[in-house]
Symmetry: C2
Subunit: 339 residues, 2 copies
């Protein structure tokens, strides 16, 4: 390993993606990436009695599917890093309860997929663990209930609001002498808060953190946007993506538009009703990355991806107390090694 | 590094405790360990307008005090790992907001001090970071409000209930060629749930996880209780401590009583009104370890400590849905090297 002056950490031993899997609800299954998801439910209740249990089930299903797709047995797994949007991160902890595997609970809101991947890759790179699972989830109904209004209220949502993805993604990270897709660098983000207080505009709350982490990654690795096939943000949506690109352009005179895309803009038909500014939630970047992106890297269509997952660390309690919404953005660089 | 067959991870490069600090409220300051705490407030509101902001302030104060006590400047710090009991872990993220340091949010409930120490020690041991801060907090008033009843209600608390500590602890972990106190081994716990549903008996919910992690640590390192000066659990309190010792005795015929103590039994005068089964909360093990334990290790009174922080991953939402309470216990082994 080698540490730059700034916070980009280079992984010398090429911890790699042994497998990845996704599980999604109805709106996601019928969206533009529908064909790429592993598990698709025809009912967002997923056979459970509550939305919280349905979300936990999504996470468990994605996790078990990723384990099955890898060459690793569940007994060989050293650890699971997981987190989600629910209070006390219950989707993760209830999913792995009594599973007999060490568990690390994370909170990074919608940045959790990149955050859990980064920690997993570091512990594998350092030789501390052989195989680690990284997983995260979100559910439209549990998120609306907890963060906004009861579903039954039928609240009108603002154009800048995003739809929380009902979905989960999981990766198995391990060592492989002939890696196909490796995690080559990681950057842990800072908590950035420029004072956005509008809880219906998470994209704007996260954009400054995304701009900060992406700019720092490019400058400290001395790379340009064109050095990547894709700079993929988590769930900035339409409003946040445009803001983030503008901030980077203004502050560093760099235009990332030609290689930028956002998971929140990819997962739904943006013209569909109720989508507004795009998708969001931990599950958004998780299931897009674990399915579509890994699939495109496997075929070699894209070979170098900066996965910059964004999180709005929004608390309804603190928002009601007049506080603004801090954002964070953790980055993982995936490279195609060729196997 | 070397990994045992089980999950105990040995740290070969002796990442060490460069400093530690604690900040506490009135009940803790006047308790038996009062003299050991760095910052003591005469009012639990800590000059803030809400309990949540007061808790975040405690965490920030402990963190800044730990930085000041170390030889590390804030600019040299590579990362902060923090977590707490509040929804969306706001104490941590609001404390470090705009601090310009990478942040990793954790959720391990009351096990967070050992969990954050373990991750910090691993990233320093692997050479990925030079200096990391690990911090956590809890506040009686914000916890009661979120998890139980409004304070104004004046609810009668059951004898098995524990008092959430108003306090925070922080450690700076780094490399030092002549370490005084080092983190020598870590173990990440599993999520264990034996079906306890009584939200006024967190000790019972956590005891099985503590027994599992401690037994596993002893067996996989081939050590006996007498090999340690202290096996310190986080916050099992009176009920949980006794249960945990019984489970270990029954399952492995090992009596840890001669070297066992629990932070929840140490921080308050156990005969005082309202203490019931003892202290709890992320801040409980954090401020006892960061103050009293580190002080006793510095003087050499104790030289080898198994710090087994325990967490009840309790969610009011899932409890109301009839779910039982999962527990977890992460372990960090501290050794006195002599400086």
């Amino acid at each position: 390993m080698n540490r730059n002056k700034t916070r980009v950490i280079e992984l010398k031993n090429r911890p790699c993606v042994l497998s990845s899997a996704s599980a999604v609800g109805t709106n996601e299954a019928t969206g533009p990436l529908g064909n790429y998801f592993d598990i698709k439910y025809s009912d967002d209740g997923i056979g459970e009695q509550t939305w919280e249990k349905a979300e936990s089930r999504l996470l468990k299903d994605a996790l078990m599917c990723a384990i099955e797709k890898s060459s690793v047995t569940i007994d060989e797994l050293d650890m699971i890093f997981a987190g989600d949007l629910l209070n006390q991160c219950t989707s993760g902890s209830y999913a792995v309860r009594n599973m007999n595997i060490a568990f690390g609970g994370l909170f990074g809101a919608c940045s959790t997929m990149a955050y859990s991947l980064a920690l997993s890759a570091l512990l594998v790179d350092g030789g501390y663990c052989n195989y680690i699972a990284a997983a995260t989830s979100s559910h439209f109904c549990s998120a609306e209930k907890q963060f906004r209004y009861p579903l039954e209220y039928g609240c009108q949502r603002s154009p800048s609001s995003q739809r929380t993805v009902t979905g989960a993604g999981a990766f198995i990270i391990g060592n492989n002498k002939k890696p196909d897709i490796a995690v080559s660098k990681v950057l842990f983000g800072k908590v950035v808060d420029l004072g956005v207080t509008d809880t219906a505009n998470m994209g704007a709350a996260m954009a400054p953190a995304a701009a900060e982490s992406i700019s720092e990654f490019l400058s400290s690795t001395n790379t340009l946007p064109e050095d990547y096939d894709l700079i993929l943000t988590g769930d900035l949506g339409m409003v946040g993506s445009s803001l983030m690109r503008d901030i980077i352009k203004e502050q560093t005179d760099t235009d990332i538009s030609p290689v930028h895309n956002d998971c929140g803009l990819m997962i739904y038909d943006m013209d569909a009703k109720g989508i507004n500014s795009g998708g969001s939630g931990c599950g958004c970047s998780a299931c897009v990355t674990a399915s579509y992106i890994m699939s495109k890297m496997k075929t070699g269509d894209i070979k170098k991806v900066l996965f910059a997952a964004t999180g709005a660390l929004m608390s309804p309690t603190l928002s009601l107390q007049g506080e603004s919404i801090p954002g964070i953005c953790h980055i993982v660089e995936f490279i195609k090694c060729g196997g």
